[in-house]
Amino acid sequence: MAANPMSQFEVYRIGPEIKVGAFDISFTNASLFMVISSLAILIIFNLGSKKNSLLPNKLQLLTELSYNFVSKMIGDTAGSKARPYFAFIFSLFMFVLFCNMFGMIPYTFTVTSHIIVTFMLATFIFIGVTIIGFIKHGFGYLKLFVPSGVPIVLLPLIVVIEIISYLSRPISLSVRLFANMMAGHTMMKVFGGFVISLGIVGGWLPLSFSVALTGLEILVAFLQAYVFAILTCIYLNDALNLHH
């Protein structure tokens, strides 16, 4: 099991099998790490916002910095109209970030390395953004697919391309996160396996690679959470401020 770089992505039941109708909703290791990530976020941000001192302590500073970071990110990409969706994007960013980061600890499970999880998040965002767009602009939202200043001859082609690109948004969003996390973790596992199999003589080279990769993967974990959140902001911006 240890030698298989894909075995780290295996989901297994923790505790009894729970079935609702035909659906298996048993508590798994993936569920465990979703719960752990959410709890960690809630605990950190609760402690960080508990008391308000003029000179913040470290935890308070952390929470306020992340608040301002996400707030600025939303303000820069989607403008002031996106204010009501701040809490959602904040939760999304923190959830993805914490899941990615918890995945960096050895023997843990990376929730975001599963396509179904990222695809669900992306689909939810896609559907939500589409609904917001239609509520804000009615059928005028369809103008999103008709860019202004395009020659009439090219218009049918452009519209088709725009529709395809719009519909592929959840897929690109989810696959980007999932593939990044999976590839990184697989690579680390492979290099770790090399360390063991090459032993004391040849294991130093893959070990140093592994160390460097860990740093890179931590960067990727943050970056992918950021990209996920900022793409959500951009999609939201399309829905809120329709100027294509």
């Binding site: 989901v11 979703m34 809630l42 306020e64 669900m120 090399f194 199999s197 040849g202």
Partner: protein
């Protein structure tokens, strides 16, 4: 020798790893739909709870904390500005008072100086007048004396010369003849004695 063993190790280990990859039968566990519903279910529960708690409890608190701090800081800055302005006006007042008192002191000094100069001038004039009067008096006396001097001298000369003649000759001589001679002499020598 060691090098050879090392390269053999590396080579065979790569073979071994390759074997492991080929032996893997399940493929990607992500594509196994066995736990998809479980994952969707738990994702919606955890993320839903996370979203609700964050949006209803924690984020408003952080936002109010930030607002509070901002307002506190801006209040403090405002208060500091006010105090600075107050101190500036006080400083201005102080400067004005100093300037005023300096002017007053200058005025008083000038007045005193003018008064003193006036007094001095008045006294000087009086003194000048007195001095002039005295000089005039003295000059008058001198000129009087000057005017009276030839007559007196003539008289003395006449008396002296009459006595002298009496003693020498023993006769009394008429004063008038002597005075005529003396007058004559004195007229001759007048310019020699008085210079005019």
């Amino acid at each position: 020798m060691i090098k050879k063993i090392f390269f053999q190790l590396v080579f065979f280990n790569f073979l071994f790893v390759g074997k492991v990859f080929s032996a893997e039968s399940g493929g990607m566990p992500q594509l196994n739909p066995e736990f998809w519903f479980s994952q969707i279910f738990w994702l919606s529960i955890t993320f839903g709870i996370l979203y609700i708690v964050l949006s209803k409890l924690i984020l408003p608190k952080i936002s109010s904390n930030l607002e509070q701090r901002k307002s506190q800081i801006s209040d403090n800055i405002e208060a500091a500005d006010k105090q600075r302005e107050a101190s500036e006006t006080k400083l201005k007042e102080y400067d004005e008072i100093i300037l005023k008192s300096k002017n007053e002191a200058k005025n008083i000094y000038n007045q005193a100086r003018e008064k003193a100069i006036k007094d001095i001038n008045v006294k000087k004039e009086i003194l000048d007048k007195q001095i002039e009067e005295e000089i005039k008096k003295a000059e008058d006396e001198i000129s009087e004396l000057k005017q009276g001097a030839p007559e007196k001298i003539t008289k003395i000369a006449i008396e002296t010369s009459s006595e002298l003649i009496q003693k020498l000759i023993g006769n009394e001589i008429n004063n008038s003849s002597i005075s005529a001679i003396v007058d004559d002499l004195s007229k001759k020598n007048r310019s020699k004695y008085y210079g005019n």
